[in-house]
């Protein structure tokens, strides 16, 4: 990772391991008739990946001094929702992708019907899991039930028709069409940005953060959410299957509008750089505590996959 420090990398891997340790125990295969659904859910959930959303959530939690164990269900729920959206996105009727994170996509392994259900099941389980957690009085929670419900609601909106799904539907409708820059930004902000923003905002809601700090985190998360997708567009245009683990150059060949197709690669890199600068600036009032989150913004721009 060019541009990020060794300390950043160590910390990222530490947070990623924290998340993976919990995710791997969530959906346990058991000797029951519904065995297959557990296998299909775990296949995609444990297929690796950067875990950007839960890592972000944990990093913000640490900065706001709320324990990991108190926020972990939200972190895992966000990853489950992200994973379900990938499973459904990869389906033949959607993007028709055979590979994801270097592995066969869910429907290539389990068949389309099971992949549809595994996606549904991961979305539903995200909510089941948070609800179980909120009701479990034996679990440590320094926030109120009302705050816990509010954070859950934020995630639900980010995942829904005015969030991720809203972006997906416009994305589908825009294929092979000339679209405006505004619409492309709408797609990116909703399809990818909404869940990334939720990852940052959930700890802010749980800790009832003051308006100034909350606004700063909103600005940070909006910037990195859009930056993530601009970088994805750049990676797809110049990409390498081995590094990305998925077919590249797909956007251009499928007639999909991207930042690169609209602005060219140089201008896209400039936009990316501005977004990252603004993300880093927005965290000034958190001082030294924000070092990891600032480096995370840089990492988003520098990543190779």
């Amino acid at each position: 990772m060019k541009g990020v420090t060794h300390m950043f990398k160590t910390k990222y891997d530490y947070l990623l391991k924290k998340v993976n340790d919990v995710l791997s125990t969530l959906i346990t295969e058991k000797e029951s008739p519904e065995n297959t659904i557990y296998k299909a859910m775990n296949y995609s959930l444990m297929a690796g990946g950067k875990r950007l959303r839960p890592v972000l959530l944990l990093a913000v939690s640490e900065m706001l001094e709320i324990d990991f164990e108190e926020v972990m269900p939200y972190a895992c729920a966000l990853e489950m929702i992200h994973t379900y959206s990938l499973i459904h996105d990869d389906l033949p009727a959607m993007d028709n992708d055979d590979y994801r994170r270097g592995m066969l996509t869910n429907h290539k392994v389990f068949g389309e019907a099971t992949a549809i259900l595994a996606g549904d099941a991961l979305l539903n389980y995200a909510y089941e899991y948070i609800l179980d957690w909120l009701m479990d009085e034996s679990k440590k929670k320094t926030y109120s039930l009302a705050a816990g419900v509010k954070a859950m609601s934020y995630i639900a909106k980010a995942a829904g028709i005015n969030g991720m799904i809203g972006g997906q539907i416009v994305d589908i409708e825009s294929e092979d069409k000339e679209i405006t820059v505004e619409l492309l930004e709408y797609i990116h902000k909703h399809k990818t940005g909404a869940l990334i923003k939720a990852s940052v905002m959930v700890p802010a809601i749980l800790t009832s953060l003051d308006d100034e700090k909350r606004n700063a985190l909103e600005r940070y998360s909006s910037n990195i959410g859009l930056a993530f997708q601009v970088k994805d567009d750049i990676l797809d245009a110049e990409g390498d299957f081995k590094l990305l683990g998925k077919t590249t150059g797909k956007d251009a060949s499928s007639g999909k509008s991207t930042f690169v197709s609209m602005y060219g690669i140089e201008k896209s890199r400039e936009i990316l750089s501005e977004l990252i600068s603004d993300a880093v600036d927005s965290l000034q009032l958190f001082g030294d505590k924000a070092i990891f989150l600032k480096e995370l913004a840089v990492y988003i721009a520098e990543r190779k996959n």
Copy 2:
């Protein structure tokens, strides 16, 4: 409706209208880029149907003396979850149905990609909607936030891998295979029964009902949930497209095991009759207040579609 009174029919239609009045206002089309998703969601949500789940929920609420307006979000959420499951079930990769309730299925009208997203969106919106309701302090709620969360959790479990989706996956895996009676019951109880049971149990949770009454409602709901599916199997075997609004005789031609294929039609009718008797018996301790719910059990067995 043979076997049910005129008074029952009037009441059923009254409750059905109450539900439809709210459902029709939930997902409003607006002039926005994501217009299509609203249209696709509403197309299936407002395609008619018996509204059995929300009607049940309202009827139990009335018996337990909790106002309709306090439980309506749960009633609507159950119908949204039921509708999403039908949209996904009808997809080419699943049951590949062209008609539902006498209308073209969602993917036949909007295409597969949009139908997948419309299903996802309805599932997600069910939770968004309850969460909004729970957080809105201006709405009348005689139950605590904790009870509201508990009821929501019951629905989430009923919809998930140990509920409806658990039944669907076993159903898919069992096609063209010899299965046991136990497995067939497992499929029916989970695929259809779980949400029907939740419709009955949500008002019991919200009113913190005592164990004896709660057990009675559990017995009632388990019976009618299974009865509903046995009746579906009978209707499919002897059915008529005009009345059902969907292709009939499909189970036999697709090699699907049903109560009729396992027991024959006469024995299936006997089983159905026993389930209904037990459902009616289970409500004795509610006295006259349970008249509508008892007739509802009879209606499930007598219905023509």
